[in-house]
C-alpha cells in the first residue's frame, strides 16, 4: 500500500465521486469504479423466488477486514500495472439504493484498471470478513457467501 491507496470501513454514506477522485494521481487520465448498492429485489438461491428487501445491515470483523482489504491492494498492485486503489465499504444499516461498496482503480492504461477492479470485487466478496443481513417485511437472514473453503 502506498500513501495514495486506502481501505476503509464507514457507517456514513459513501460518495462515489469522492472515492474515485482520491485515487487519482496527476499522470493518470481515467479511473474505473465498481459500486455495489443495496437492492430491493433479490433471488433466493435455494427456491429461486424473488424477495423484496426492506433494508440491509452490514457487519464486519473490522480489524481483520481492513487487513484483508490491504492484502488485496498489495496483491492487485503486484499483479496489475495500476497507480492507486481505493476501497471503501459501508457498515451498519443501509436503505435500499444506498452504496454498500466502492472500489476505484486509477491506471495509466484503462485495460489494467478494468481488470484490477474486476479482480478486487471478486476477491473482496470471497475473503474480506463482512456479512450482509437482508431484512424483509416478515423476517431477516444473514447471507452466507459461496466460498466452499476458507480463503487461501
Amino acid at each position: 500500500m502506498s500513501d495514495a491507496d486506502f481501505t476503509e470501513l464507514t457507517t456514513e454514506p459513501i460518495d462515489i465521486t469522492s472515492v474515485a477522485r482520491r485515487v487519482v494521481p496527476p499522470e493518470c487520465g481515467a479511473t474505473v469504479t465498481l459500486d455495489g448498492y443495496a437492492r430491493r429485489l433479490t433471488k433466493d438461491k435455494q427456491t429461486g423466488e424473488t424477495r423484496e428487501t426492506d433494508h440491509l445491515v452490514y457487519e464486519a470483523y473490522e480489524p481483520m477486514a481492513i487487513k484483508e482489504m490491504q492484502k488485496l491492494v498489495e496483491e492487485v498492485k503486484a499483479e496489475f500495472e495500476i497507480s492507486n486503489v481505493g476501497i471503501v465499504h459501508r457498515l451498519g444499516k443501509l436503505e435500499i439504493g444506498e452504496t454498500s461498496v466502492v472500489i476505484s482503480v486509477a491506471s495509466p492504461h484503462r485495460r489494467a484498471a478494468f481488470a484490477a477492479c474486476e479482480w478486487l470485487i471478486k476477491e473482496l466478496k470471497r475473503t474480506v470478513p463482512i456479512w450482509k443481513k437482508e431484512v424483509y417485511a416478515d423476517g431477516e437472514v444473514w447471507i452466507e457467501g459461496e466460498a466452499s473453503e476458507p480463503p487461501a
Partner: protein, 82 residues
C-alpha cells in the same frame, strides 16, 4: 498450564446462533478451534447448521490449529460483503 485463555468472537449468523458476540474459554495445550466449535455446537445447535470459517489472530486459519494463550479466535460463516 493454568490460566491459558482465549477470546472467541462471533459475527452475523454465528453471533445470533450463540447469542453472544464474544466469549472467553480456558484452554490447554491441545485445544483447537474445532474443539471449541464442537463444544459451542452442543450448547447452541443452531451453530452446527452453518458451514463455519475460523480466524486466529485476524488471519484465516485451519480449524485444527492448536490455540495458545491470549489468542483471539473468530468463528463466522462464509463472508458476504460487497
Amino acid at each position: 498450564m493454568a490460566n491459558r485463555r482465549t477470546k472467541v468472537l462471533f459475527f452475523g449468523a454465528t453471533a445470533d446462533a450463540v447469542g453472544s458476540r464474544e466469549l472467553e474459554f480456558s484452554i490447554d495445550e491441545t485445544t483447537t478451534a474445532n474443539f471449541l466449535i464442537v463444544l459451542l455446537s452442543q450448547q447452541h445447535p443452531a451453530l452446527a447448521t452453518h458451514r463455519l470459517l475460523v480466524a486466529v489472530n485476524e488471519e484465516y486459519a485451519d480449524a485444527d490449529t492448536v490455540l495458545t494463550d491470549g489468542d483471539e479466535i473468530a468463528i463466522f460463516t462464509a463472508v458476504s460483503g460487497g
